[in-house]
Symmetry: C2
Subunit: 241 residues, 2 copies
């Protein structure tokens, strides 16, 4: 009878064939009233020259989870850490990568455009692509399917949470929030309904400041420190007559 210590001492991980493992992220933002996502031009094979999701291999020394990998890669590309990052889904199969059987754990992130623009504007291998332009691009691997899944998740959560605030800067107005939500959902929502939920969520506080975006000055809000996202028990349908 072998002990676990003996077993581990002689364990050779390379004995078994194993898939290629990567981590990829779909990072959304709002830029010029358009929902956009971060794409990276692939410098190396395979699919060299195609645009793909920011991501890569796990660094077994540095990363203590795939979340850490996602965060490391996103920080490399944007210079900052996104205020929202959640696991999306793991995609796998023998044909999604020409190198062989592969698996990628996809993450889904949101950030304010202004927060990472200083860094992104200095590089040529990363860009914000408006979703409306996606159809005209060659996208690497199965990343288009991953983007579709992320978009679905974003739209779902927008209907029962205030998730889109994470696309806005730290201080924002209700009208800005309404804009992101309407852009994500693709149709108008009742401002009154939005305000009711905004208050009920208890996620936000007034800064005390006002900002002039149009005519009347609008109240500025920020997220309360250390407050979790609030999930509503009912969807915003946004159906209007």
């Amino acid at each position: 009878m072998q002990s676990e210590a003996d077993y581990l001492a002689h364990y050779d991980p390379s004995r078994f064939p194993t898939p290629i493992v990567t981590v990829d992220s779909v990072l959304f933002t709002l830029y010029q009233q358009q929902l956009s996502l971060l794409l990276v031009k692939r410098a190396n094979h395979p699919q060299q020259g195609y645009w793909g999701l920011p991501g890569g291999f796990i660094d077994l020394e540095q990363d203590d989870s795939t979340r850490a990998t996602a965060l490391r890669k996103l920080t490399e590309k944007t210079g900052v850490t996104p205020p929202w990052l959640e696991q999306l889904e793991t995609f796998s199969g023998p044909h999604r990568d020409p190198r062989g059987w592969s698996l990628t754990t996809a993450w889904f992130a949101l950030i304010a455009w202004a927060d990472c623009q200083p860094h992104i504007s200095t590089v040529t291998d990363a860009q914000w692509l408006p979703l409306s332009q996606l159809a005209h691009y060659d996208i690497a691997f199965d990343h288009r399917a991953i983007i579709d899944a992320a978009l679905l998740r974003l739209r779902q959560k927008t209907m029962y949470s205030m998730l889109p605030v994470y696309c806005l800067p730290a201080e924002f107005t209700l009208s800005q929030l309404q804009d992101v939500i309407e852009t994500i959902l693709g149709h108008p929502v009742q401002r009154k309904s939005l305000i009711r939920r905004f208050d009920a969520s208890e996620m936000f506080e007034e800064t005390g400041e006002f900002i002039a975006t149009g005519a009347r000055k609008a109240r500025l809000y920020r997220r309360k420190a250390g407050v979790d996202i609030h999930l509503f028990s009912r969807n915003l349908t946004g159906e209007m007559t």
Copy 2:
């Protein structure tokens, strides 16, 4: 300038350190009014003798996705394929498996107890464990955390869908459905609300048969063929005065 074909011809996947990759499933059922899950006694190291989730390594020859791996392992243990199987989450890290940096894609499944009992009763290395007993068991790896995540998912979805029907046999009564739902949520629900949602979902049809479970005979229903699960835009809160 190297071509992609050249690159692929010389690609050696073993050059890079890679995590240990597995697939695990949380299979729930209802047995004797108790929400239970399938556990397997680990025959080999590591964690030999502990109970863990049914799962294992991906067979790169046979499996064309981690779903296929989950299904293959579940079928080995239960003799049948579960009517509900969805991806839960991927768990990863350097310490969750003593062999090293590991990653497991966890799946979440439901099945009727009667459908797999013929097979499970013949083996000694697999058992249904009522959730209430879980605290008294030594569970392998981080499988307890995976079970917690699955349970959370099950409870969430029970509030906005008819998911628990997949814990019932092909033909069932409304009272049986109410029972599973109340067991999962841990509190009673309004039968009237349940019936309204049951009808509105358009997922079911009457078999025309009745069954005597208690006093008055109850109508039998089955799932309509090829119908997708219906998601409600509002949660069943189940709060009662």
